[in-house]
Symmetry: C2
């Protein structure tokens, strides 16, 4: 069923007209009178509507979106090269990430700034919106950037459980890091997952992350590419916290 | 450390010369005398070597490859469009799949056959080889195709635990399907994971799969694209079976 994010949901029985990007998208989909579509306020509430004609919908009752995970998982990504960021943002949105934050690190080859970064963020946010619509999400993950590794560490560390995945870590595995969060029902927990760019993190960066309060954690014995690791980590966390059941 | 797959490992103390694709790859990497590289027989055994000069290596002792999962996970993929198969094959190899099998299903748009399929399989196998080298795998997953959905079901069902992920399944989740495999140490178990193409499976196909002995299973409430679902399923299975610890 087609899905559109709008700012304010209509009350049940009211009519509403799709505008802007939603109107464009609806024209592509060739909605027909009588067809069901879902409007979502981007804050976890859906409204099941029926197409009256053209872009005019008749609103039904509001319901909580069934697809939104209780666990908020922020992905913290060192700027990757080329279109890998787009790939990770699209897939992470489908899988259920709550937020995507990009940051520069020592071995980053790509370091967009200023206007170039603004343009990229705009494009990335559109990708997240479209992936959220396709996958049935109840919110659009925010995509943003911070301008230093230090700022990334400070903000990521504010989560209930901040984790950095590091390919040279051999002791602590994700199962142990998640420890107390699994097995007992926990409400509204916030997890941060940080991963490196193509060149990984420097030893100094890992020490800084540990000092900032992040747990340094392995994703297993196989070396994952920089675009694979965040999605594998996200999937494992959501599975472990029973968000894929 | 660079990694090369070769048919027969040299005995410790013997010299060996890289040839063919390995030689090409080594030239790109500009190996230097004294550098360590790993040879792997593709059957789970590594041999740590030292570069003597050029493409000549001095072999050290043979050791079991530490990166190979005990669990064999076969991914069964309905032919996807365009380069999505390449993407899934590369990522699934990194993550730890043991085998990738492509098959036609009712809603497949792409259905390569004959020479075209042969060429694709050759290319896909190269992608698996390269991803296995990069990620430190002890084997190269075989990439093959079967020519009917029925053959795919029959062969997939031979695993200890054959699962088909279906977006309309709302009852059985992966945790339940894995049931008895988790929590107790199991050796050398074989799991098949089957996923659909862009258009998904027909209701009739799901009924056939159930009859063939596959468990029909959800990956959670978010709708995953055809290239995301197999990788999410694979990651969740490997995490659940403690292969990412």
């Amino acid at each position: 069923m087609a899905r559109f994010f709008i700012d304010t949901l209509p009350a049940a029985g009211e009519c509403c007209v799709l505008t802007g990007e939603n109107a464009e998208h609806a024209r592509v989909l060739r909605l027909r009178p009588g067809e069901s579509v879902t409007l979502c306020d981007g804050a976890g509430t859906d409204c099941l509507c029926t197409v009256k004609e053209g872009l005019t919908l008749l609103a039904g009752p509001a319901l909580p979106c069934p697809a939104e995970p209780k666990t908020a998982v922020s992905l913290w990504l060192a700027f990757p090269k080329a279109d890998k960021a787009e790939h990770v943002i699209q897939k992470a949105t489908e899988l259920g990430a709550s937020e995507l934050v990009l940051f520069p690190s020592r071995y980053c080859v790509s370091r967009p700034e200023g206007k170039a970064l603004e343009k990229k963020l705009e494009r990335w946010q559109k990708i997240a919106r479209s992936a959220a619509e396709q996958s049935g999400r109840g919110m659009i993950p925010a995509v943003r950037a911070v301008d230093s590794f230090r700022a990334a560490l400070q903000q990521a560390a504010e989560a209930d459980l901040p984790i950095l995945f590091y390919e040279n870590e051999e002791q602590l595995c994700l199962r142990e890091a998640l420890g107390s969060l699994t097995g007992s029902p926990v409400e509204a927990v916030h997890v941060s997952l940080m991963t490196g760019a193509e060149g990984g993190f420097s030893g100094e960066e890992i020490a800084q992350a540990r000092e900032a309060g992040l747990q340094i954690c392995t994703l297993g014995p196989r070396i994952l590419r920089c675009e694979t690791a965040p999605l594998a980590g996200l999937t494992a966390v959501l599975y472990a916290l029973e968000e894929m059941d």
